[in-house]
């Protein structure tokens, strides 16, 4: 009996070890994106440096969205508001992204560090264009950002970097309760707001994008900086 228990516990520990060391990335999506973008970079670089005479066929990457950045942002925000309002279950009057007047503002070299967590050089190297929707005249901590990355950029890696490095303290003393991002095609979309708004924007992105969207959740450590039980 003792031997059986010992054996079972040993097996359980080994299984737990494997589970604990498991990789959690979405490999399929990451690889697909990386493959496509790496090829573009390699070919572009080769062409420039060796002055190849052969014509390189451009790789066609399907677009996740169509239209200009402001139109894309507006469509995501509009749909997110519909989703957010439909999901409202509180007894009191709806209060969320649908009640706050927001306005799009381009992200530029001045704001790229706090909004995107990128320094100026990275911003110019990685980002084609970026735009933020934020409250026009309210201290509601809410921001939706749409970023179009340049061709050849590792979208998965850059999306992860942006979502993890955007500064929660850019709203001042007030801070958002959630930060949720997604990447799809060569677009990165992330929301810093309350949990409901973040989920609504993510759902809108999934619905509106022509390509698969991969979600990125950022752990809320900006109000505690980690404690005993937080890695």
């Amino acid at each position: 009996m003792k031997r059986i228990i010992t054996l079972l516990l040993t097996v359980a520990i080994i299984v737990c070890c494997f589970a604990g060391c498991g990789k959690t990335e979405n490999d399929a999506t990451t690889d697909a994106t990386t493959e496509a973008t790496t090829d573009v970079t390699t070919e572009a670089t080769t062409e420039a440096t060796t002055e190849a005479t052969t014509v390189v066929e451009p790789i066609t990457v399907a677009e996740a969205f169509t239209g200009d950045m402001e139109a894309i942002l507006n469509s995501i925000v509009t749909r997110a508001i519909e989703i957010d309002m439909a999901a409202w279950t509180e007894e009191y009057e709806y209060y969320g992204i649908g009640t706050i007047e927001c306005e799009p503002t381009p992200v530029d070299e001045d704001s790229c560090t706090s909004i995107l967590g990128l320094d100026t050089d990275e911003f110019y190297a990685l980002v084609d264009s970026a735009i933020e929707s934020k409250p026009l005249g309210s201290w509601y901590t809410h921001s939706v950002v749409v970023i179009k990355l340049k061709d050849g950029v590792d979208v998965a890696e850059t999306a992860q970097k942006i979502v993890m490095n955007t500064k929660p303290n850019r709203f001042g003393c007030l801070k958002p309760s959630s930060i949720v991002g997604a990447y799809t095609g060569n677009y990165v979309i992330f929301t810093a707001s309350d949990e409901s708004a973040c989920n609504s924007v993510y759902s809108a992105v999934v619905e509106l994008s022509a390509l698969e969207a991969v979600r990125i959740d950022r752990e809320n450590t900006w109000k505690n900086s980690g404690g005993l039980l937080i890695p």
Partner: protein
């Protein structure tokens, strides 16, 4: 022999309770929604779906949930913090250090970019809105308390003097230096903000530099307690609580206060001090009711006096009441939350007014959120 067996059973039982019991407790108990000490929402129990299990997001979320809802979480955080400071003799926990009973955030040298952007924004404000019309422009910088507490505390010392010097020389506003009027005790022991009772000299110097009369006859209101500031939860240390003492004087007794509505932006009746907010998540909201885009303090004793437009952050909310003096009104703009053009539509600028830019180091660190347009 029997005692040995009983001891073994107790030991095994304790082991199993520790390993499985605490975990089971988290799953079975009603989950909390907010960590008051950390001022944040706790992770909610994730929905188990085929998709979330398959892509692994369920387990990631469930892990966050278990971490946040762990039994006696605050107690464990406190034990860790006390052990770190008291036994390991480390100088910080969660980025917070303590010196002379004052908790403060360990800061690193500020990069040039936010200062460059701040200077650019202040100059743009001055050029766009206040270049014509006889406006008098002033600026000051509110230092972080770490400047007064980090020196000799065994952690990196950060001097904000060079930042003030750059703002002084590179902006068109007349700079008012207040660094020498503050020290570690000017701030709450458990919070990043300064105490209103300790900035009367600061207000006097600013008023004097702007050509206004100093305030006199200041009285203290009843202390509001306990006040646990932002560093109390961050440090997880058993620090003694603070108390908030607000100030008043004859002029303030008769002022009329208006605050912009969060949804509509319309100015509504308000008060200088909201004593009841001492129990709120952020008790510093006692001053002028907390964050707001536009706040107006009208001096009914001197309705024809000049207007002071104060561009500031949360520090400005405790400073503003001390600047009313002989001004007709003080208008507080927080352009982190509103475009300047829109703020000035709410309260149009009066020619010949005084304009004061008073931002803290924390605000300058993310100065790109100052909305100049």
């Amino acid at each position: 022999m029997k005692i040995k067996k009983t001891a073994s059973i107790i030991f095994i039982a304790l082991f199993l309770i520790t390993v499985f019991g605490l975990g089971a407790f988290v799953v079975l108990r009603t989950p909390g929604t907010v960590s008051e000490s950390e001022r944040r929402e706790l992770a909610a129990k994730p929905q188990m779906t085929m998709k979330s299990v398959a892509d692994g997001t369920f387990f990631t979320s469930f892990e966050d949930y278990l971490l946040d809802q762990f039994a006696w979480r605050d107690t464990f955080r406190r034990i860790k913090a006390v052990f770190q400071f008291g036994v390991l003799r480390q100088k910080e926990n969660n980025g917070i250090s303590v010196s002379h009973g004052q908790a403060f955030e360990i800061k690193s040298e500020m990069e040039e970019k936010p200062v460059n952007v701040y200077i650019k924004r202040i100059n743009a404000l001055a050029d766009t809105y206040f270049s014509d019309g006889g406006y008098n422009l002033y600026s000051t910088v509110i230092p972080d308390k770490s400047m007064y507490l980090s020196e000799g505390a065994g952690i990196p010392y950060v001097d904000y003097g060079p930042i003030a010097e750059r703002i002084k020389t590179e902006t068109s506003a007349k700079f008012i230096d207040i660094y020498d009027l503050l020290d570690g005790n000017s701030y709450y022991a458990t919070d990043s903000h300064w105490k209103q009772t300790e900035i009367v000299d600061v207000a006097d110097r600013i008023l004097t530099e702007m050509g206004a009369n100093k305030i006199d006859g200041i009285r203290k209101n009843d202390a509001l307690a306990p006040f646990y500031g932002v560093y109390y939860g961050h440090s997880a240390l058993p620090l003694p609580s603070d108390e908030i003492v607000t100030l008043t004087y004859d002029t303030l007794d008769a002022v009329k206060v208006l605050r912009a509505n969060k949804k509509t932006g319309v100015l509504e009746d308000a008060r200088l001090y909201y004593d009841e907010y001492i129990t709120a998540d952020d008790a510093y909201d006692v001053f002028l009711g907390g964050a707001c885009t536009v706040i107006v303090i009208e001096n009914t004793c001197n309705p024809d006096g000049k207007t002071l437009y104060l561009f500031s952050d949360s520090f400005g909310r405790s400073l503003a009441p001390l600047l009313v003096s002989d001004y007709g009104r003080v208008v507080v703009f927080d352009i982190r939350y509103i475009k300047t053009s829109r703020a000035l539509e709410t309260v149009p600028p009066e020619q010949g007014s005084d304009i004061l830019f008073a931002y803290s180091i924390s605000a300058i660190e993310v100065s790109d959120n100052l909305q100049v347009k």
